[in-house]
Amino acid sequence: MNAVIKLAQLETKMFFRDRLSVFWTFLFPVVMIWLFGSMFGDNPMGNFTFAELFVPSWIGVNIVTTSFFTLGTVLAGYRETGVLRRYQSTPLASWKILAAHTVQGTVIFAISAVLLMVFGMLMYDLHIPEYIASTLLALLISILAFFPFALFITSLAKNTQSAAAISSLFLNLMLFLSGATFPLEMMPTVLQYVSKALPLYYVIELLRGTWNAGPITDYGMEVGILLTIGLVSVILASRFFRWSDK
């Protein structure tokens, strides 16, 4: 267990040594909220305010960036440069590596989520989640769905570049088609169906819902879908885990 904690600590430290990833993970979403806020900040959107809709969705988007970039692409790089291979001849088991990176990803995501919430409260009078225990549980379920999902998808890549390309594709697809940036009601019916095929859609529904409308028990279908994605991804990710590309 000691090794898992050490590795998670070190990976977190090393994350902060890379200024670029710090910017993209922590500041970029804040800038985006601010940008959208300066466009629609003052108009209520249906029954909710701008921040009530946008802050929970960007917290959701941050789960995607953390899982695909902080976890997936980094591990693909470790596979390519032989970092994982070096672990292979030590007693460190593969599940411990994945566990350590999951802990690191959770810590980094939590920081970014708190930043976004505080920014929303200061700038747009956002309230803390109505059903805070439900929101926390929703976040946990979303992490459990997305981390293994991204780890599996990026492990199919041959190298860091293609892992980053796959990650960007998924991120952009979900960013624009999951209701995070543009309300789904504005889109053609076909795209509305597409968005329901993207896992981020359910994360956003769940986060917006528990933040503003009702407890997690009202969202059985979303929870079910996300847990299924998580379970299937864990099986696939561990079945296809590779130490190196050779």
Binding site: A3, G82, Q88, S89, T90, P91, L92
Partner: protein, 303 residues
């Protein structure tokens, strides 16, 4: 002598390519055992089978009384591996890496001793990526030996090092042997095999060509030759002399290989005497492992 590794009739193929073709050898406790051969000879594949990373297709492999591919977990507690050209996290500091890898093993870590032996103090706060090739090799050597492994695998440990750094690396490897580790090392530097290894296995084309001490290998006549300098002789002149099998020329100096060196020497001298050709620096040479190796390769091509 106690055997640490025994390999019998080992085979391994990748698709239609047979990388290892029925190799057998033993490694004794406490020795530095070299596996030498040109690139693509099957050295790394053999090493990876011993480490349990690759699975053998056929044959029997016993490492520290374990079956490497089936008992990898137990094996990993007792061996240390320095891979060829792998990296650790770029932004990890040397002291962090030592600390992290120490936490993988149950017993006490000899981290502090290694920092002293390998002279790592001044680099403890450097990021791995900022180190030169020689320092990177030292760090990865340290990571492989933190737990005082009974058996240490080093894959091309002095690749890319300058001659000075290479000599330093050798003395560190000897020091680890003196601490009680058995060391298996692959290399394509013949000088390294000659000066560092207690015994050497020569592999070429997936087959074992010879196993012995470097000294005994060099007593093999195949590597012996006549060395001399002459400004007027040509390779063609020498090839027709009695018994000559091969001639190497570099500028005015010649290496003449023959089945019977004494007889050939007599004929060269009489050839030159009759024609009044001066020759200088005439020597009977034992040759190096390099020469022996080239000799094996030539024979292979001839057949």
């Amino acid at each position: 002598m106690e055997r640490v590794i025994s390999v019998e009739h080992l085979t391994k193929s990748f698709g239609s390519i047979q990388a290892v073709k029925g190799i057998s050898f033993h490694v004794h406790k406490g020795e530095i055992f070299g596996i030498i051969g040109p690139n693509g000879a099957g050295k790394t594949t053999t090493l990876e089978i011993l480490e349990g990373i690759q699975k053998a297709d056929g044959g029997v492999v016993d490492v520290l009384g374990l079956n490497p591919s089936r008992q990898l977990k137990q094996l990993n507690h007792r061996i240390g591996v320095q891979f060829q050209a792998t990296s650790i996290q770029k932004k990890m500091k040397v002291k962090e890496a030592l600390d992290l890898f120490s936490s993988f093993y149950e017993g006490a870590s000899q981290k502090d001793e290694l920092i002293k032996i390998l002279g790592l103090e001044e680099k403890l706060n450097s990021h791995f990526n900022d180190l030169s090739g020689g320092w990177k090799q030292r760090v990865t050597l340290a990571l492989a030996t933190l737990h005082k492994p009974e058996l240490l695998f080093l894959d091309e440990p002095s690749m890319g090092l300058d001659p000075h750094a290479r000599r330093e690396m050798w003395s560190m490897i000897r020091m680890l042997r003196d601490q009680g580790s058995t060391i298996v090392i692959t290399t394509h530097y013949m000088e390294e095999a000659e000066k560092l290894c207690d015994r050497v296995a020569m592999i070429y084309g997936g087959e074992l060509k010879a196993v012995d001490t470097p000294k005994e290998l060099l007593n093999n006549n195949a590597a012996h030759y006549l060395g001399f300098e002459s400004e007027q002789l040509t390779v063609d002149d020498l090839l027709i002399v009695n018994g000559v099998t091969r001639v190497e020329q570099e500028h005015h100096s010649f290496k003449v290989f023959s089945d019977d060196l004494q007889n050939t020497a007599y004929h060269i001298f009489s050839h030159c005497h009759e024609r009044d050709i001066p020759i200088h620096n005439f020597k009977f040479e034992k040759g190096s492992l390099d020469d022996l190796f080239v000799q094996y390769l030539k024979k292979e091509h001839a057949e």
